[in-house]
């Protein structure tokens, strides 16, 4: 089947906007450097690049190869620029596709995912602008010890609900990765800091399990 005009154009729009976004992101330190007439501490930057950056690059690459196919092209081009993928954009896109009853890896899935990510991004930006303008008023409320447990539990609250929707629908393929991840985190709790690396690992295991079940006509 030939890709539609939209499917062809989305790559042009996506790539152009992505290149512009990268230039804009680089512009911040560059213009700050020019404005203050100071150079960055090259030694510090180099030290960080050698010591820490490879981990960030590996995580970024893995996220791109894992989330890219999930979000569809429009969603991926937009999602990677707008950020906050794991705890916001990816769940928002998945939830939206599921409610709209459209398949991921279809054009309908692609547009719904893009709309969900765009809406999520616009709301996040607006909330941060409002939050920043009202920072002095909001800071004592948001940082109050009374509310701290609520904000410390955003991820469990998010993935509890999302888990019901996706795992109940796919419980046969979900069982093995869930048990595996449970055991892993019970044995080695410090692995939570490597969550971005574990997601593709878990996804790969799930795919292998799904393939076996599919071949045996069990799903």
């Amino acid at each position: 089947m030939k890709p539609s005009l939209y499917e062809q154009k989305i790559h042009t729009w996506g790539r152009v906007s992505l290149v512009l976004a990268i230039l804009m992101f680089i512009a911040y330190p560059l213009f700050a450097s020019l404005y203050y007439k100071v150079q960055p501490d090259y030694g510090l930057v180099l030290q960080w690049l050698l010591a820490v950056a490879p981990v960030y690059w590996a995580v970024g690459a893995i996220e791109a190869f894992t989330f890219g196919p999930m979000l569809g092209s429009g969603g991926a081009y937009l999602g990677f620029v707008t950020g906050n993928l794991t705890a916001m954009k990816v769940p928002a896109a998945l939830r939206a596709m599921q409610i709209a009853g459209v398949e991921p890896n279809s054009e309908k899935g692609e547009v719904i995912s893009t709309i969900a990510i765009a809406a999520s991004s616009i709301v996040t930006t607006l909330i941060l602008v409002i939050g920043m303008l009202l920072l002095n008023t909001l800071r004592p409320i948001l940082e109050s010890p009374a509310l701290a447990p609520a904000f410390a539990n955003v991820l469990p609250a998010l993935f509890g609900g999302l888990g019901v929707v996706f795992l109940s629908k796919n419980w046969r393929i979900a069982l093995t990765p869930m048990v595996l991840m449970l055991i892993l985190f019970l044995i080695k709790p410090s692995m939570s800091s490597a969550i971005s690396l574990l997601i593709p690992f878990s996804a790969a295991i799930t795919m292998v399990v799904a393939r076996v079940l599919y071949k045996r006509k069990m799903i």
């Binding site: 911040y28 820490v52 196919p69 939050g131 955003v154 796919n170």
Partner: protein, 240 residues
Amino acid sequence: MFTVNDSPLFLLAALVIAYVLGQSVFFLVKAWRRAIELGISRHTLRGTVTGSALFSIAPAIAILLGLISLSRFLGIPLPWLRLSVLGALTYELPAAASVAKILNMPMDQPVIDPSVYISIAWVMTIGILSGLLIILLFQRRMQARLQRMKQKDARWSAIMMDSLFVGMIATFLGMVFTDVHKGLPGFIPVFVMLFSAVVMMLCGLLIKKLHWKWLENYAMPISMLSAMAFAIPLNNWIGG
């Protein structure tokens, strides 16, 4: 004299954020128009926007908290830029912390040296570019390969996509158990997750039995916010 909250830095951050906001609106409009052409109803599209917007409020407030904590070290403009677009708290906080560690600087005091500030901004920028570059270079090829796979075996293609989602969700559900070795307070995230799951199931029941279709778009924000609210008394009870 340099300060981390200088007006030109605000202006720079605002320009970049405005660009990304414009990009979001552009993609929203293009995708919306295409969705209408594909026969997706306006009702569904409005629901998608409303649901996503509501769903994003709680995580956005959590991001705002991250902005507040990073602002002590880097001021407001840089964290505002990085957390509004491009980055995530899970990336920005450790990236800034790793630089602070190299320099042996406390993170509760603002950076006063512009050279250090600019170095941190460079480090945070360079560190996050790999994902963007891969999407730029490989997204089209990845999509084409997925399409070929779908044409070859549509059912397996759908199962494979589900596997990706399930793998991701299973990882986060496992992570919720990270602190259970600490005793009862370590179970708080587990109980919060279960509470969210139960509320979601109740919403599902209402949608199915009472045909409350309108609830579909609100089920996720409701389960999430109620579970977050539940964490407050739960923490007072078993938090120690």
